[in-house]
């Protein structure tokens, strides 16, 4: 019920087809990695799932709500971390979160409570009153994840959230989001880095706008290991 389902999704920019009949389903509380080389269509898929674009064909269901029929209910259950930072750098961490809370209709004590809980969850309480500009890349990302969880969504989408981070921050954030899935949040994690995928994760490989593998990461990887397998798959298709 509270998972994420994409079915028959196609989208074209003029004559160029960016997504071609993409379909997969993520069960509630699962961590699903969406792996694909640059230009595979991940960003288009994210734009469609967040309703920044509307698909030509197909359906997206978030926590049981069809995005095209009940967009507001679906968006209310969706947490999003965009690839590029969307923090207002002149505002403090807390102000950024409060602004987001207001966009979700939370005010007063409700907003305070949600903000404090989100900060606490990502260990950002100590930095709550620092300006976003003063934070390093890892902490900015954490702030964005905290913000994405503020309205207690059941589905969390992250679009290459570790881009530009150092190894330690990358690991910390990857681990943390895996923990979130264990707490019951459905996670879709887009990446082009195979080392962010764990053997037990659900894995969807996207290439040239199509799903070319879908299953458990361990099984897809096989003997060769995920990195080689991924290279092989995307090269074979090329």
């Amino acid at each position: 019920m509270s998972g994420l389902t994409v079915s028959g999704l196609s989208h074209a920019y003029g004559p160029r087809k960016a997504l071609d009949d993409v379909g997969f389903a993520v069960a509630p509380g699962r961590f699903c990695a969406l792996l694909g080389p640059n230009g595979a269509g991940k960003s288009t898929l994210f734009a469609l799932m967040t309703r920044l674009l509307v698909a030509g064909e197909g359906h997206i269901e978030i926590a049981g709500f069809d995005l095209s029929r009940e967009p507001r209910k679906a968006l209310a259950r969706l947490g999003i971390v965009f690839q590029q930072t969307t923090l207002d750098l002149d505002l403090t961490v807390r102000q950024n979160l409060r602004y987001f809370a207001a966009l979700h209709g939370l005010s007063g004590q409700d907003a305070d409570r949600a903000t404090d809980a989100a900060l606490d969850r990502l260990d950002m309480t100590a930095r709550a009153d620092e300006k976003a500009r003063a934070l390093n890349g890892g902490h900015r990302r954490r702030t964005e994840i905290a913000r994405a969880l503020l309205h207690a969504p059941s589905v969390l989408l992250l679009d290459e959230p570790t881009v530009g981070l150092d190894a330690a921050a990358r690991r910390a954030i990857t681990d943390h989001v895996h923990d979130l899935a264990e707490e019951g949040i459905t996670v879709l994690w887009a990446t082009h880095l195979t080392d962010e995928v764990r053997p037990d994760d659900r894995l969807v490989i996207l290439h040239r706008g199509r799903v070319i593998a879908d299953g458990q990461a361990r099984e897809i990887a096989g003997e060769a290991g995920l990195s080689d397998r991924f290279l092989h798959l995307t090269r074979a298709e090329a």
Partner: protein, 264 residues
């Protein structure tokens, strides 16, 4: 209703905070009309005789004539500038944040429009106060009656900016739009010279100026500042607001944005 008001307040407040953070923008917004008022008008007053035209009841100085036009200029620049911030926002991603909120998109865009209008109006009042110091004064009550006119005119120009931002993809394109929108709108209007003057030199330019919604926004402000109604100007300005807003909402409709707006 509460979530709507909460988001409106937050968006207006954020717009105001951004403005406060950009001190240069505030100063530029004030200096620009003041230069026109104190330098340009001083040079021009000799060249341009103004006859008695409504809403004025006596002969007026050129400075007095252009003050409403310069109020319009502030609203025009600010409307465009906040849409410049929309283009910038969209590139920087915070527009994404706004557009993925579960509130209806028209409401979010309206909130943004309200935010930019509030800031425009504060600037207009700052300008009017300085102008009064330099001796260009309107009737005291005029400073109150001008407020609704400023709101309507501000919303109209903000909506125009919003409309442009929905069709402009990059900042570079935007510079072109500024040149092709701001200058023609400003010069082909009654902001700097009464339109009958324009009619003397070119019937065509006169007609264009008469159709220019900015002319009506300026006239609306001019009449309101002198405690008079200009129903025709109000009607035209409201009509333009409606059209620009409708087109802007259409421009921001996610279903329409297919091929044209990859970046979003």
């Amino acid at each position: 209703m509460k979530p709507y008001l909460t988001s409106l307040r937050a968006i207006v407040l954020r717009e105001a905070l951004r403005f406060v953070h950009q001190r240069e923008r505030f100063i530029a917004a004030l200096v620009r009309p003041l230069v026109w008022l104190l330098v340009f008008a001083a040079g021009f007053r000799a060249a341009l005789g103004i006859s008695i035209i409504p809403p004025y009841e006596t002969y007026i100085t050129y400075e007095t004539y252009i003050v409403p036009g310069l109020c319009g200029m502030i609203l025009l620049f600010n409307g465009m500038q906040s849409s410049l911030s929309l283009v910038y926002d969209r590139e920087m991603g915070s527009m994404k944040l706004l557009l993925t909120s579960p509130l209806p998109r028209w409401w979010l865009l309206f909130s943004k429009l309200a935010g930019s209008t509030v800031i425009s109006i504060l600037q207009v009042y700052a300008f009017l106060i300085i102008a009064a110091f330099f001796g260009v004064q309107a009737p005291p009550l005029g400073y109150v009656t001008v407020l609704p006119a400023l709101i309507v005119a501000g919303l109209m120009l903000g909506a125009l900016g919003l409309l442009l931002s929905s069709f402009v993809r990059q900042l570079e394109n935007f510079a072109g739009v500024m040149n092709f929108v701001i200058f023609p709108m400003f010069f082909l209007s009654s902001a700097l010279y009464p339109l009958w003057k324009m009619a003397e030199s070119s019937e065509l330019l006169y007609t264009i100026s008469l159709l220019n919604p900015f002319t009506h926004a300026v006239e609306l402000v001019r009449f309101a500042l002198y405690l008079e109604w200009n129903i025709a100007a109000l009607g035209w300005t409201l009509l333009a607001t409606g059209v620009f807003t409708a087109l802007a909402l259409w421009g921001y409709d996610p279903a329409r944005s297919g091929g044209a707006r990859r970046g979003v």
